[in-house]
Amino acid sequence: MRQGQETLTGNRDREEKALAKARKEEPMNTRITIAGVEFKNPVMTASGTFGSGMEYSEFVDLNRLGAVVTKGVANVPWSGNPTPRIAEVYGGMLNAIGLQNPGIDVFCSRDIPFLEQFDTRIIVNVCGKTVEDYVEVVERLGDYASVSMLEINVSCPNVKEGAIAFGQKADALYHITEEIKKHAKQPIIMKLSPNVTDITEMARAAEAAGADALSLINTITGMKIDIHRRTFALANKTGGLSGPAIKPIAVRMVYQTAQAVKIPIIGMGGIATAEDAIEFLLAGACAVSIGAMNFVNPYTTEEVVAGIEAYMDRYGVEDINDLIGAVK
């Protein structure tokens, strides 16, 4: 016994080799490609935590991000759930917003033009209550060349109809993926729910139905009770758990999924630092999204971009693609 736990981390040898390698100073590549779409780096925003970029553009340079993934948009405006919608829990938070959104009309006339001003990819998150709802939005977005990909939200735990229902049964997921694929001009990303027994079963279903990529994990259904008032902390009773608390579950599901399918994976779940992001890449994600931590530190996305470059530099990684799925 010298000192346990922490002496077991860190790796001088690898680092020294790396530094030597780094001295050669080859230009570093952080570009990744998903379904034929190239991104300047693998750092994206998790849907619902970044609006359409407007609010956070006061804090971060959107041009530095690989992509902005927008808040979910439906065919018509959704007013969302009653309040309280937010509750704090250990190492994370619960939310039950209920996909409040202005609908596709306002989105197309306001949010897309805003995002078009920046040199970053636009990925639009699409939600709906029926397959028809989804298809309607997907078709409208087909007219926008500036929208690079569509993320299909079939995993929001906070809306009663639709959404999650599609995300927890393989056959339902297969069906909606197939339908949307018929009408989508852009490549589609199916966003998977972690509230399932076997994430790989869902991933395979989406892949078989033609999904171009997967994103995971969405939030995990949780609950908080106020023991002093003896009431639920959220008006919706349950909410989606996000934040650092869920990271180990997310990394596990990304790894399992990467072993099960060939299509690219966008990993997310509690990413707060570049180290966290790299953990997802090593597990098999080819891109990552920053979610709840934007609320804690509005500069997180840019800091993660810089931190990934610093890691590559430190260990002499010339191409970020060499990190993707490197731990097997």
């Binding site: 935590t49 609006g51 609010e55 937010i86």
Partner: protein, 262 residues
């Protein structure tokens, strides 16, 4: 521009049981408007979300601002232990603030209840700077008991009326009782306090058919309008989501009382 910064605590003291008065050195003070608030972030890594705390006042030079808050949980308990020189993580300035211009030349009620009293201070100062006369500024402050924190600070800016729940000072009861007992009248109301008080203010303003600007609160995550966590039901369609849910953190926290359903 909104910023998250690590500012330095200038001083802190407990001015009533569980009520702390902290001055913070930050340039955010230069553009802080009455009724705006800060998000304050605990160091405790088990509790990640910010604590929204309204700005009580700013110094003359725009170099420091003051917050007065009640210890009501892990976060505020942590803040209450900060000493002069300690760093404090703040995001500001947030929210719309009170429409000071609406008070010009009018008789005003400035109503504060409990920990809703502090933001009324900067508002009172601003009204006087904006030309309101001492007698036009009627400050009604409601407290639980004899611990009348900030009461002296108000006397310079207007006529002060006190209500206490236990009757130990001023009118026994709430701020509306104090208004009745003193036979006060006003052309416009500005108010901050607990929801039951704000509902009473809203009702009163409705009956008198005068405008009332009330400051609301709700659990928040981002504080900047992105997460849509802290909404309030609105009479009209809101600007952001085109539904009837305005964001308290950015469309508010101050709303005209009749425009929100509380």
């Amino acid at each position: 521009m909104k910023q998250k910064v690590t500012a330095a605590v200038i001083s802190q003291q407990e001015i009533a049981p569980g009520i702390f008065d902290m001055w913070i050195k930050t340039d955010l003070a230069a553009w802080a408007k009455p009724g705006q608030f800060l998000c304050v972030y605990p160091r405790d890594k088990s509790t990640l979300l910010p604590r929204p705390i309204s700005i009580c006042e700013t110094d003359g030079e725009g170099k420091a601002l003051r917050i007065v808050y009640r210890v009501a949980g892990k976060g505020t308990a942590e803040f209450s232990g900060y000493q002069a020189g300690d760093g404090i993580y703040i995001l500001g300035n947030l929210g719309n603030g009170f429409p000071v211009e609406e008070a010009a030349g009018k008789k005003v009620f400035l109503i504060g209840g409990g920990i809703g009293v502090p933001p009324i201070l900067q508002l009172a100062k601003a009204l006087r700077e904006n030309g309101s006369k001492q007698e036009e500024v009627q400050i009604i402050a409601g407290y639980r008991d004899r611990n009348l924190f900030l009461a002296q600070d108000f006397e310079r800016y207007g006529s002060l009326y006190i209500a206490t729940e236990d009757g130990s000072r001023g009118t026994r009861g709430n701020v509306m009782d104090a208004i009745a007992e003193n036979g006060l009248t006003a052309d416009v109301i500005f108010a901050c306090g607990p929801m039951p008080m704000l509902r009473a203010v809203r009702r009163y303003a409705g009956e008198k058919a005068i405008p009332a600007y009330i400051s609301l609160e709700e659990h928040m995550a981002c504080g900047v309008g992105a997460c849509l966590g802290c909404v309030v039901k609105t009479r009209d369609v809101d600007a952001h989501s085109h539904v009837n849910h305005a964001r308290i953190c950015t469309d508010g926290p101050v709303f005209e009382a009749q425009e929100v359903e509380i």
